[in-house]
Structures are given as C-alpha cells and as structure tokens.
C-alpha cells in the first residue's frame, strides 16, 4: 500500500490529479521533518526510537527541525501541564501546513494517571491530534507502529485520528494464521 506507482493501468478522468496526489502523499510521508515537543519521561523512549537499534531515520523521519516553521509532524512527547498548554498551542499554530500531530504516550493522549489540578487531560483538548500512541511510555515498537500509521494516513489523505492498536499476542497471531490456513 502506498507506493508511488508508474506504468500501472487504470487511467480515469482524474488521472493526473490522482497521480499528483499520490506523488505528493508519497513525498510527504517519506520526508517527515519532526518537531519534538519533549517534556517528560516519554522523551527517554523518544531518544531510544532515534537510537541505533530502532532508528526512526529508516523512514526518512530523522531530521529534527527545532523551528516549527520547517516541521511537518509535531511529536508531543510527555505530560503537558496547564502551564505548558499555551506554549503547545502556540507551537502548533506556528507550524506551516500541512502538519500532523502525534500524541506520544498516555499522558499526551489523555493525561494518564496525572489526573489532577495541573495536567491537561490529553493534548486533544488544546490541539487536534492525528495519531495516539498509548503506553507509559510506549515501547519503541509501538512508536514505529504509530509512525507507519501516520505515513499511511498521509498517503491516503485520511483525516481521522487513529490510535495505535495493541500488538497481537504472538500465540494468538499463530492460532489465527492456523485457522485462516485451514479452509
């Protein structure tokens, strides 16, 4: 899914617009400049995602641009307190279109267990969110899942917010594969 295709069949009336959109989606998804809005614990896992073992750069999402003007995707990594709220909103407004937001971790998604006077219960109260990555903090695998989900979203022009689904248990996946193979 989502590769740029040339020489395929299926021309229709909107051939060029479709192709153009596909090209643009392709370019955008493989060139995600990120603005890391790192506040808290999840930042440690964010470092781990950039580290050699997980290497987010494989997806072309390696260049952190600390100026929001040049960034495509805003990673909100960690708890956002009420005091931080205006800052986050400002950063989001400063980003240039097209832009996407990833809520990294439970705190950014819904406030987590910091259910108190000082924490914003999820950054979607302040900025619209495209991808929610659950976990406290999420494992790097989940983060990569979230990134790939966002890439699919960009390619398809999908505007709905999505949540990274839990990984299937390996045993469960095996059983399902077995069941699928039978008939």
């Amino acid at each position: 899914m989502g590769e740029m295709t040339f020489g395929g069949a299926g021309e229709d009336a909107n051939f060029f617009t479709t192709k153009f959109d596909a090209l643009l989606g392709w370019a955008r998804k493989y060139s995600l400049f990120q603005y890391p809005f790192v506040t808290a614990c999840c930042g440690m896992e964010f470092m781990a995602v950039a580290s050699p073992r997980y290497d987010m750069a494989r997806f072309g999402a390696e260049a952190p641009r600390f100026s929001p003007r040049q960034a495509d995707v805003l990673w909100v990594v960690g708890t956002v307190s009420q005091r931080q709220g205006p800052v986050l909103k400002r950063i989001y407004e400063q980003m240039t279109e097209p832009k996407w937001v990833i809520a990294f971790g439970t705190c950014a998604s819904c406030g987590g267990f910091y259910d108190n006077y000082t924490t914003i219960p999820g950054i979607d109260k302040v900025v619209p969110v495209d991808i929610y990555i659950p976990g406290c903090p999420p494992r790097p695998e989940a983060v990569l899942d979230g990134l790939m989900l966002l890439m699919d979203k960009i390619q398809n022009g999908n505007k709905d917010p999505l949540v990274v689904p839990p990984r299937e248990l390996p045993k469960l996946a095996q059983l399902r594969a077995k069941k699928d193979a039978k008939p």
Partner: protein, 406 residues
C-alpha cells in the same frame, strides 16, 4: 555640542557605545531546555547579563497525587520523578517507608536493589553526558551511548518487565525475585559498556573543541555549592567528596570498595568527567554486588502486613483473599510519625520526607529533588557567560523535568 576634551577617554565605560540589553526568551520549547524550562535572558551582544530561570512547566502534582492513594500506589509516581533512573527513586521511597516502620529488607533483597539501582545510575549518567554532547553538536557519541543504554534496559526489562518505568520496588522488598540469569546477563554487558565508554571518551574528552567549550564555563565554587544545596556529581565536581553512599551508607553500600570521583574546578568539563568516572565506579559496585549476593533466600521481608500473599494463597484460601483485598483496597498502614530518608539518586541527594497519620494513605510525601537545587544554581553559572555556554552548562546541570518540577 559639548567639546570633546571634557570626556575622560581613559575610562573604558565612556568608550562603550550605550546599548540596551536585548531580552531573549529561551524555552520552554527550545531544543536545549529539555522542554520544561524557560529562561529569560538579558543579552549584551552574546554575553548573558542577567537570566531568570523559570521552572515549573512540568509540574505534575506528584506530592498531591500521593496523598490520594495508598502507600504502595506512590511507587508508579516515583518512577516518573527521575525518569532516567527510576529504580533509584523506587528504592529511595521504599527505604523511607521502611525507615518509618523500622524494618529492614533481607540481605538478598538489598543486594538486588543495589545491583538494579547502580545499573539505573549508569543509564542516568550516560543519558546526561550523551545529551550534553549532542547539544554541543556531537551527535555520534550520543547515539553510541543510547545504544549502550538499550543494553542495560534489556537487562532491566528482563528483571522487572518494563524498559523504563519499572514500579518494581515494594515496601519491604522487591516485587519479584531476581531471575536466575541476572549475574550472567550483567557480566555479559559490562565489558561491552566499558568499550563504548572508552570510545566515547576518545571522541570527546581530549577533543580540543569540546575542552574549549566545557573547561572554564559554568564554574561553581565549593562554598557556594554547599550553600545552594547542590548535591551529587555537580557538588563532587567542585571538590566536595560528598556521596551519600559513602558518608551515610544505606543498604549494603559499606561493603563495597569504590571511589568517589571529585573534580577540581567545578566547571562543565569536571562535571562531565565526574559522571564518566562514576559510571566506572558503578560498574565496580555492580560486579562486587554480584559476587557477594546470596544465591537464595528471600528478597522481601516476610511480613503479612505489607507484603502481598502468593497468588496461590489468594485464590485458594479465604485468609489469603482477605489479606490481598485489604492490602489493595485499604493499603498498608505504617505507624504515625514523620521521617526523612535520603539516598544517592542520579543527580544527588534524593530525600523523601514522609508524614504518616497512621492510615493507609500517605499524609504527606515530600521529595527533596536534587535537580531542583542543582538547577537553582544555574543562574549564577550562566551570568557572565555567552549564549553558547548556556547549552553545556544547562546540560551538565542535568535538570530532569519530572524530578525538578514534580
């Protein structure tokens, strides 16, 4: 127009062009501010004339949240205080409650705490030094150290089940027994860590640019450091050999042979080197602890008031069910009183001041965050330096948002 002769041109001040200082707002969302600090700078050219350091952007209400649940429910919050070395916080809080109750964990449990805690300390120092290097533009050592940190996390994950936020400490012991592979795993990674430490040091420590950036910047004097309440590697870099593990040994730290590295100048370079050396010392402690650690025996105290019963008993006996239920819903109730317990955290003296009213809910949990007091000294370190000096200084102060702002 006044005649030129009236001016005294020997005075330097009259030769300076009059200029308003430029006010520059750095942070909280600035790459070097770790997302949680705001600095309002008054600049004269590139020189910092005055700075107002404003913490609090990651205030998450730790102390208030602790007053809501049971004593055991504080552990997940302590994980997220200093999230670079959660195990040290877990142990620190457990020790505080144990001090309040007057109990002591079995020897094996103490060694287990030491081993995991020192691994966490290695991670902490690695992260700090790696981030300092990265912010100076040396991206490669950063990734090397991150790679190593992942190896340590693998061990911690195998032991505790979580990469980062373990919630593994318990009042009166640890959540689980050590896995049989503990010693083998750690002995496998320690030599590899040593190699990467040497590699990183060859990249940075004798590098002229790095030395120029770090030496002589952010200098803190010994007296000032003590007065400001600075502790940990930052205090040791000024020449004060204060390490809680040596001065007021807790757990089994008095049985290990390790040195407390101290610096001389109290500048950024010393702080960097002290942290690197402490990694080596921690590795020594881990090796000794693994040698001395009893191979069997309980890890936790055998006290039904605070330890959860076995799952087998919970499911099969009515007493077990009730005990489990009461411990979960009502919580363990330590005696009435207030104690201050302190340990050596990643950044310095990590103290827990806890007040109990005799119920299952903490009346007050005050954490003495080392980064908070370390960061307080940052203002003095920054004034007089240049903009570029903010980065190494702030990096080597090692402000950890969760711990600093709580």
């Amino acid at each position: 127009m006044e005649p030129l002769d009236t001016h005294d041109f020997t005075d330097d001040d009259t030769l300076e062009l009059p200029a308003e200082p430029m006010r520059l707002n750095m942070g909280p969302s600035h790459p070097a501010m770790h997302g949680t600090i705001r600095m309002v700078l008054d600049l004269d050219g590139e020189t910092v004339v005055n700075v107002d350091v404003q913490p609090g952007y990651l205030h998450r209400g730790f102390e208030k949240s602790c007053e809501r649940g049971t004593w055991a429910q504080v552990f997940p919050y302590t994980d997220r205080l200093n999230y670079v070395s959660p195990m040290l916080n877990n142990v620190g809080f457990a020790l505080a409650v144990e001090k309040l109750c007057g109990i002591e964990v079995p020897e094996r449990g103490q060694y287990y705490r030491v081993v995991l805690g020192e691994l966490a300390r290695i991670c902490d120092h690695f992260t700090c030094n790696a981030a300092s290097g990265m912010e100076l533009g040396a991206f490669t050592p950063f990734l090397w150290l991150m790679k190593v940190r992942d190896w340590i996390w693998d061990v911690l994950e195998k032991e505790t089940g979580a990469r980062l936020t373990h919630s593994f400490g318990r009042i009166g012991g640890m959540a689980m027994e050590p896995t049989p592979d503990l010693a083998m795993d750690i002995r496998a990674i320690l030599p590899e860590i040593e190699k990467v430490v040497v590699e990183t040091e060859t990249m940075l420590v004798r590098n002229r640019i790095f030395m120029d950036r770090m030496q002589g910047t952010g200098v803190l004097s010994k007296e000032r450091a003590l007065e400001l309440g600075v502790t940990g590697p930052m205090l040791r870099s000024t020449g004060v050999a204060y390490d809680v593990r040596k001065d007021s040994p807790y757990m089994v730290y008095d049985r290990f042979d390790f040195d407390v590295p101290v610096g001389e100048d109290g500048d950024n370079y010393d702080r960097f080197c002290v942290r690197m050396e402490e990694v080596r010392q921690s590795m020594r402690i881990v090796e000794q602890a693994l040698d001395q650690m009893p191979t069997d025996g309980p890890v936790s105290v055998d006290d039904p008031r605070m330890m959860l019963p076995d799952k087998e008993r919970v499911y099969n006996s009515i007493e077990g069910t009730i005990a489990h239920f009461k411990l979960i819903m009502e919580g363990f109730a330590p005696p009435k009183g207030e104690v201050y317990s302190f340990t050596e955290g990643g950044n310095g003296e990590l103290g827990f001041f806890i007040v109990s009213d005799g119920s299952g809910t903490p009346y007050r949990v005050r954490v003495r965050p080392p980064s908070w007091f370390n960061l307080q000294s940052a203002r003095e370190l920054l004034i007089g330096g240049m903009i570029a000096d903010i980065i190494p200084t702030f990096g080597s102060v090692n402000m950890i948002g969760g711990e600093c702002d709580r």
